[in-house]
C-alpha cells in the first residue's frame, strides 16, 4: 500500500505528515510505504491513499485515490483516526 502526503512545495508540511504517519503505522504494525509529494505533480502518480491539508480539497476532487483531508495538521489524534479509517476501508 502506498500513502502519499501532499503540500504546496512537497517537502515541508508533507514531510512532517509523512513522519507522523510513519510513527502511526509503526505503532499499529501496518506495512505501507509513505511518500511526500507536491500538489502540482500528484496527478499521474499512483497512491492508494492521499493525505492532504483540508484547504486542498478542491484540487483533489477528481483524484481516484482515497483522499484524507486533515483540518489541524498538528493534531496527531485527528491524523491517526482519519488515516486508520482510510486504511481500514481499503482493506475491507
Amino acid at each position: 500500500m502506498i500513502i502519499a502526503t501532499l503540500c504546496g512545495m512537497g517537502f515541508g508540511t508533507s514531510m512532517m505528515l509523512k513522519l507522523f504517519i510513519e510513527d502511526i503505522l509503526r505503532d499499529e504494525e501496518i506495512k505501507a510505504k509513505v511518500v511526500s509529494w507536491d500538489l502540482g505533480s500528484h496527478k499521474g502518480q499512483d497512491a492508494d491513499i492521499i493525505v492532504a491539508p483540508s484547504d486542498m480539497a478542491r484540487h483533489l476532487q477528481s483524484s481516484e485515490s482515497t483522499v484524507v483531508l486533515i483540518k489541524n495538521l498538528v493534531d496527531k489524534v485527528e491524523i491517526r483516526i482519519k488515516v486508520l479509517e482510510a486504511i481500514q476501508s481499503l482493506q475491507d
Binding site: 504546496g8 512545495m9 517537502f11 515541508g12 512532517m16 507536491d38 502540482g40 484547504d55 478542491r58 489541524n72
Partner: protein, 438 residues
Amino acid sequence: MELFQFILELITLPAFILGLIALIGLVIQKKPFSEVLTGTVKTILGLLIMSIGIGALINSLVPIQLMFETGFPAGQLTTFVTFDEGVVSAVQDANVAGIGAAIAWTMLFGYIIHILLARFTKFKYIYLTGHMIWIHAGAFAILFHSFGLSLFWTVLLASIVDGLYMTLAPALAQPIMRKITGNNEIAFGHGQTLLNMLGAWVGKLIGDPDDSAEKQTTSSGWDFFRDMAMSISIIMILVALVAVILAVVQIGVAGVHEQISGGQNFLLFALLQALGFTAGVLVLLQGVRMLIAEIVPAFKGIAEKAIPGAKPALDCPVIYSFAPNSLIIGLISGTIGQVAGIVILALIGWPVPLPSMIAAFFASGAGAIFGNATGGKKGAWAGGFLWGFVGWFLISFAYKFGVFGDLAAMGATALGFTVPDAIIPGILIWLVAKLFGV
C-alpha cells in the same frame, strides 16, 4: 599520493558529504541494507537534479534580466529573483573554492550544535524543517566563506551561528505560537521568524486580538495559489511581459527580435522564458525534495533520542489551518507590500527583487497570522504588508551591499536570499566584520 588526492576531492564534494550524512542517518536508524543504499544514492541524485534545475532556471532568467536592462537603459535598474533554494543550490553546485563542501559540513555540524544546545539549555526545541536547515546552513557558510576564511573556520563559525539560530528562533516565536495554536505542543521552524515577529509586535501596538480576522467565515477562491506551479507561472508571465514591453518601448519589436529573442516572436519568447523559469524551479524543488527526504527523518530520530520531550519546530503551513482568513489577508497585503517596496526601491535606485508569489503566500501569510494573534484584523493586514515591504528592503540591502559576498561569482547569477532569519544575522555579522576590517 594519488589515493590521498582522491580522498581529498571526495570529502570536498558536496554530493558525497550529503550522501554520507544520509548514510550515517540511515545506519543509525537501523534501516535494512537496501534502504540504506537507495537512501544514499537518492540523496546524491537529489543534489544532481538540483543542479539541472538551477541551470534551467538561470537560462530562462538571464533573458528576462536582459529585457529589463534593455527596458531601463543606462543601468537605472537592477532586478533579481529572491529565492533561497536557488541561491544555495547554485552556489553549492558551482562549488567555487570548496564552498559547497562548507555548506554540506555546516548542515551536519550546525545540527549537532543545535541538538547539544537544546539538550543542555532550557530551549527544548527540535528544528525539523528540512529545506530551512539546508538554506540556513548554506547562508551562514556562504557568509563566513565570503570573509575569506579557511574551510575549517568557515564551517566552525557557520555551524555555531546556525546551531544558535535553530535553537533560539523557535523560542522567540513560541509566545505567539501559543496564541495561534491554543496549546504549547508545536514550535515554529522557518526562516521567516524575525519578520513574523515584527508583524506580531506591530499588531500589538495598533490592533486588538479580540477583533480577530478568524471570526468571519471565509469565501474561498484563493486556494488555487496552493498550486505552486500555477502561481509561479502566473507571476513570472506577468513579470516577463512587463520586461518585454519595456524592452520593446526602448528598442522596438525588431530590436528585441534581433538582440534578445533570436528571431522568435517577442511575446512568445517572453512567455516561454517565464514558463521555462517555472519549470526550472519545479525541477530544483524536486531535487530539494530528494535531498532532504532521507536526512530529515534521520535528524528527527537522533534528536528525539537525545532530547526527550522537546517541541518540534515545524514548517510554516502548520499554522495555516488555525487562521485561514489571516492567510488570505496576508497574501493580499503582502503583495501590496512587495509592490510598494519595489516602487520605492526602483525610485531610490536600489536593486529590485522581482515579485514572489512564494513570499506573498508562505511568508506574508504567516506574517499576517502572527499579526492577527496579537492585533486582530488590523494586525493581520499590517503583518502581511510589513513582511512584503520591509522584507523587500532587507532582501535588496543584502543584494546591494553583497552581505553574503559576490553571489554571482559563486554561481548564483541574479539570485538573492529571502529569509530574514538569515539576512538580519547576516547583516549584523557582516557589519562586525566590516568594523574589524575584514
